[in-house]
Point group: C2
Chain length 272, copies 2
């Protein structure tokens, strides 16, 4: 059977770990793949562990026991998070982004894989040790971000819909009041999506008053499950009274200044 | 300045390449990061290139010239694609998935990062050399899949909405006829999303008659852009006359048999 060099094994193992964040991979998978002894693979893993730590590219955890193995936990250095948030502020300050009604056009960023994969890693790093079972979002703009967070945490994504669909089977619906517009809105979710007693986090693109987050909290009660965290890309801090506290965000939007420039800053709540 | 071993460099370079599919990375980034000579980094890259090829884990391309560098192109072996499609068929054959009206419940899979990251890689591999500028989808269920394809191709995702939103600025709307239900539906897209003369592919969860794909083709005409490919996870082949041809799919759904079991097979159109 074919033999592999240490360099080759290290490259392939790195790839497999990075592509399966937060999933425990048994060492047998690697020993079989490379026809190598467990001790050899263990040494490979030590080298990978060291370099990821050294460059703040995440970490490798070892889980002992028969069901054990190793898993990659995504990470972003504080320096990189700040640089990313600063760059995002610069991009968003473009006056072309201001839409009648003083909205900020962010759709392109929410659907830009470069931006969203970094933002997802930053948000996920706040929830690594919370025993999260599901990442929940409401359609539509926050879906890629919530998907990236779910992928980094190695869990299922759940997307709450605005209306009932025939392809969902039995659903649970609730009404909630949007905190910023005071309008009654609807949320609906298929009964089969969430198991009783689960820990969920809510991820979205934008937070205004927090009405949607509060709605999600109430919807999760119908599933006998808990909301254990909230993360958003942009926190609108024009509203000084929020309906929820305890959330993380990457940047803060404070409306427009006297000259119609958007006021944007790196969030004070970038980490939990 | 700190020095790194070859093993360490290889692990870090692998990670950076994998996380930036289809993006050209200049060798200077690596020489600076590791305080190493260009020749050293080139040798590292040769080792990575070899092992990815050997294990069918994708490939590394070298782009010559001043703006050149290297880029990772995702790949899945034919064997792995088939195994994935077969596993998916098994999962979907579960009778609990049949919903009144003979729909198949697929929402959990469309929002499962393990499933979607593999499916995205398989679909993206059909469009690597098509000069794709945008990946387009219609909200909601296909968004994570389209996002993964966009990420693998290193391009922007565009999500067509069902209705107008105030946060989108000026939009273009069209009506189209759903091929399977014969109902008139609406699609709307912000004018700023797509540049004139772009090449787009359409990615979705399910194809029935292909009415949505035809609608997208017409919508793109309003942006003076072209639809150069279509990819779906599940092709409903109960409809023998499709409104579009030339698409790829991963599995085929042929309705229910006499005993109400879903008929599912690996698609004959899994590659272009």
């Amino acid at each position: 059977m074919e033999k592999f060099t240490r360099n080759q094994r290290i490259s392939a193992i790195t790839k497999i770990l990075i592509e399966n964040p937060n999933k425990i991979i048994n060492l047998n998978r690697f020993t079989e793949m490379f026809n190598a002894a467990k001790s050899t693979v263990s040494e490979d893993l030590i080298a990978i562990k060291e370099i990821l730590l050294k460059l703040s590219l995440g970490k490798i955890e070892t889980i002992p026991g028969a069901a054990g193995g190793v898993r990659y936990i995504g990470g972003v250095s504080e320096e990189e998070s700040l640089r990313f948030a600063e760059e995002l502020c610069m991009i968003l300050k473009d006056r072309e982004r201001i839409i009648p009604g003083n909205f900020l056009y962010v759709t392109d960023l929410m659907f830009n894989p470069d931006v969203i994969s970094k933002a997802g890693k930053i948000l996920a790093s706040s929830f690594n040790n919370k025993g999260v079972n599901y990442v929940v979002t409401v359609e539509t703009k926050g879906i890629p971000l919530a998907y990236e967070v779910a992928k980094m945490l190695g869990v299922q994504l759940v997307v709450v819909r605005r209306e009932n669909k025939v392809t969902e089977g039995p659903t649970v619906s609730i009404n909630y009041v949007s905190g910023s517009t005071n309008r009654i809105q609807n949320m609906t979710l298929s009964k089969r999506t969430i198991n009783k007693g689960s820990n969920c986090i809510f991820i979205d693109d934008f937070m205004k008053a927090g009405g949607t987050a509060l709605g999600i909290m109430n919807l999760l009660k119908e599933f006998e499950s808990n909301l254990v965290g909230i993360g958003v890309l942009i926190d609108n801090i024009e509203m000084d009274r929020k309906l929820v506290d305890n959330y993380v965000s990457i940047i803060e939007f404070e409306g427009l200044d006297g000259e119609d420039n958007a006021i944007l800053n790196v969030s004070k709540k970038i980490k939990m």
